[in-house]
């Protein structure tokens, strides 16, 4: 299929120009969740962390789980868009912008969750004032801020061409300030060959860098657990395991996002079954890798059965966490493999469901990494209070999780009003590339 930019602009301008009633309705609902979260946060700040389910043994709860989860998705976006871009996959056009948005939005949300977990937010700047380089948290501060800057540059570069198109599209019905904003953001890009060359070069370099940085960020995150001596965490495999899990969850998310936008903005012409299958195949490969890492991590722990590892494994395999373990580590691996692997199941709806299952089960996978270990210290927990023995989520934590999810959605909705949800310049280039191919 061939696309030229004026047709595409005509197609995508309404998405930006007009906002439907239901859009506002959804947005308002999400906003309500968000405000509820703010109330939860206010409660937590005034009353202290007692209002959470965390106690002296389980000092980290769902906040850390969410932190890892959102960081993971952001990583996936970066990696997918980086790889698709670097390898010039011919089908990247319609999905690359969504992957990019996943990256940037979750990269803003993730670190906020770790802040909820910190006891003295008023002293946060101590992390920069008195940094100790031995601490994995300091590595994290450095890695995440580098990642944030790197990703913002990479994404901005990939937006410039579209900003220029929006600026040049005369029929665009938007208030003056918006048009001026596009003009400003386009940085005078005129698609001269020289400009084009520079921007593609920089983008190539940044794509490679973003992939590298993202691997580092996610490994550092894993090492926060890996460097401790706690049963279940003290594992050499955690770095790569977390990296794979991150890309995996992000790919699942990409599929879900593709499905939603395809429905909402009627993009059936652009996002076809082929795209779902292609991303689905990626999901299948990652599922296999993820399953393999999970298997070898637990196999070695179970086979060796060091005392504390055994206690932990028993909780996961046979008692308290039995169902959660099945949901996250069996279903989360097998469903995508079966759905995408067997041709007859390979429909858009099925692949989307598989994607959704991936996202949810990966969240639980992180929960199973963080919480049971903290409930299984070397010394027995001898306490009467049940909340001291095991962790359960409170309404405050719940409200903040919901707030996080709704901010994720809200930012997506806002972004879709600001840039075309499908990268117009990428679509055009894709046409150009295929034309070039045909001529050869």
């Amino acid at each position: 299929m061939e696309y030229d930019s004026s047709k595409l602009m005509r197609e995508f301008a309404p998405q930006i120009e007009k906002t439907s009633k239901s859009w506002y309705l959804v947005f308002a609902t999400l906003l309500a969740f968000f405000l509820f979260g703010i109330f939860g946060l206010y409660t937590q700040i005034t009353k202290g962390h007692v209002v959470t389910g965390m106690r002296d043994n389980v000092v980290w709860g769902v906040y850390i789980v969410n932190f890892i989860f959102f960081m993971g998705m952001s990583y996936a976006g970066a990696l997918i868009s980086g790889i698709l871009y670097l390898f010039k996959s011919s089908w990247r056009g319609p999905v690359i912008r969504m992957a990019e948005l996943i990256t940037i939005i979750s990269l803003f949300i993730g670190p906020v969750f770790i802040l909820f977990c910190i006891g003295r937010l008023d002293r946060l700047y101590y992390l920069i004032l008195f940094p100790r380089i031995q601490s994995p948290i300091t590595w994290d501060v450095i890695a995440i801020s580098t990642d944030l800057i790197g990703c913002i540059i990479f994404l901005y570069l990939s937006f410039i061409e579209d900003f220029a198109k929006l600026r040049d599209y005369k029929e665009l019905q938007l208030p003056k300030w918006r048009k001026r904003l596009y003009k400003y953001l386009a940085l005078g890009y005129q698609e001269t060959p020289w400009q084009y060359k520079i921007i593609s070069h920089t983008k190539n370099i940044m794509a490679a860098m973003v992939i590298a940085i993202a691997i580092i960020v996610y490994s550092v995150l894993a090492w926060i657990f890996g460097v401790t001596l706690q049963p279940g965490w003290h594992s050499t495999i955690f770095g790569p395991y977390f990296v794979i899990a991150a890309v995996y969850s992000g790919t699942g998310m990409l599929i879900v996002v593709m499905w939603i936008f395809r429905k909402v903005y009627k993009l059936e012409e652009y996002i076809t079954e082929k795209h779902f299958v292609n991303v689905g195949v990626l999901l299948l490969i990652l599922a296999a890798f993820f399953g393999y890492f999970t298997f070898s991590d637990y196999l070695t722990k179970w086979y060796g059965s060091i005392k504390m590892d055994k206690v932990l494994i028993d909780k996961l395999f046979t008692s308290e966490y039995y169902y959660m373990f099945i949901a996250s580590n069996y279903l989360g691996v097998l469903v995508p493999i079966i759905v995408v692997g067997i041709k007859k199941f390979r429909t858009i709806t099925n692949i989307t469901i598989a994607g959704l299952i991936t996202v949810v089960s990966l969240w639980f996978n992180r929960y199973l990494i963080v919480v049971p270990t903290l409930e299984t210290p070397y010394f027995p927990i001898q306490d009467v209070r049940s909340e001291w023995l095991s962790y359960s989520v409170t309404w405050v934590e719940m409200s903040l999780i919901l707030a996080g999810i709704s901010v994720f959605c809200m930012l997506f909705m806002l972004a879709s009003k600001f840039v075309p949800i499908i990268s117009i310049s990428e679509m055009e280039k894709h046409t150009g590339e295929t034309r070039g191919l045909m001529r050869d």
Partner: protein, 322 residues
């Protein structure tokens, strides 16, 4: 145990005379306390001996050293008491879960009943081995997992071996709590309630008082006591004399009643460190629960039902029920 008897011969007075007052002497070396110009409150009339910088033993009024810790500089606190290497020895054969160490520690550190720097656990290594009572403070590890991970240097290892927390620096990330393999640390989940006299104290890492919401605390080996030539609260509170405290450099430990050579007792009684294979090099040694002075069950007699409830998940309690 002939060796044991012999070590008892080093009398307690002797130990305190040469040893612990050195600590106080060191304060004079630091030039902090004994200045007559310092507004000394009421003269109590009670004299104590101190070793001065040039080696003379002098007598001063007790009140002159009381507020020692309040006048220490940040650097002195972080460096620790010069020339010291503190060590604790816990004799498991004598513990019968009286829990006086816990309550005294809680009182002195302004802790709530549910906050314990010192814990007494019911331990049983496997179901065929004998249960025993196990007092557990912070181990003040020489390779502390908690210090390694602190991002802001709020928890630190001193030259005298003690691991302390500066709760004016702590950001409350709880990484140290998650990192400590011995569950030694507690977090202040809510506004800290303190008796007025503790609440009004100037904060010092050496006393851990007053604690602050959103930061961590743990057993501090009471360095404020050591600076005054006194033993940690748990040591003096224990009626069984289970806990010995002392100095590795001097090779002596005392429980207040008897003073013994550290190396001798560790050798003769097969002293060990719990979970030392984790490589954290704890400074707390245990003497195994052999030749016990009390039957294990006596540890359950004097305690409240609430305390008994805590042990309900142990093999021992479960087997007793059957």
């Amino acid at each position: 145990m002939a060796k044991n008897e012999k070590s008892k011969n080093i009398s307690r007075r002797n130990f305190l005379g040469t040893g612990f007052l050195l600590g106080a002497g060191a304060i004079t070396a630091g030039g902090v306390v004994l200045a007559a110009g310092n507004a000394i409150p009421e003269i109590s009339g009670k004299k104590i001996k101190l070793l001065t910088q040039d080696g003379k033993i002098i007598e001063v009024d007790e009140t002159a050293v009381l507020d020692a810790e309040q006048n220490l500089s940040e650097k002195e606190i972080r460096d620790g008491i010069p020339g010291r290497k503190f060590v604790m020895v816990v004799d498991l054969s004598k513990c019968k879960n009286v829990r006086k160490c816990i309550s005294k520690c809680q009182e002195k550190h302004g802790l709530q009943p549910d906050q314990e720097f010192m814990k007494v656990l019911l331990m049983q290594d496997d179901k065929n081995s004998a249960p025993y009572w196990f007092p557990k403070p912070c181990y003040h590890c020489d390779q502390p997992a908690c210090v390694k991970v602190c991002p802001v240097d709020a928890t630190y290892k001193r030259h005298d071996g003690i691991v302390l927390i500066d709760n004016e620096r702590c950001v409350g990330c709880k990484f140290c709590v998650a990192g400590c393999p011995y569950s030694a640390r507690i977090f202040h989940w809510k506004e800290v309630e303190l008796p007025i006299e503790l609440a009004n104290r100037k904060y010092s890492s050496e006393t851990s008082v007053p604690a602050k919401k959103g930061t961590v605390s743990k057993c501090d080996f009471c360095p404020d006591q050591s600076r005054q030539g006194k033993l940690p609260h748990c040591v003096t509170a224990c009626p069984m004399g289970v806990i010995y405290f002392g100095d590795m450099n001097e090779d002596t430990v005392t429980n207040g009643d008897e003073t013994i050579r550290f190396t001798d007792i560790i050798r003769d009684r097969a002293g060990y460190r719990y979970l030392a294979d984790l490589g954290t090099a704890p400074l707390v040694y245990y003497l195994p629960p052999v030749n016990r002075q009390f039957p294990f069950e006596s540890g359950l007699e004097s305690v409240t039902d609430e305390v008994k409830e805590r042990y309900k998940n142990t093999e021992y309690m479960k087997s007793k029920k059957e």
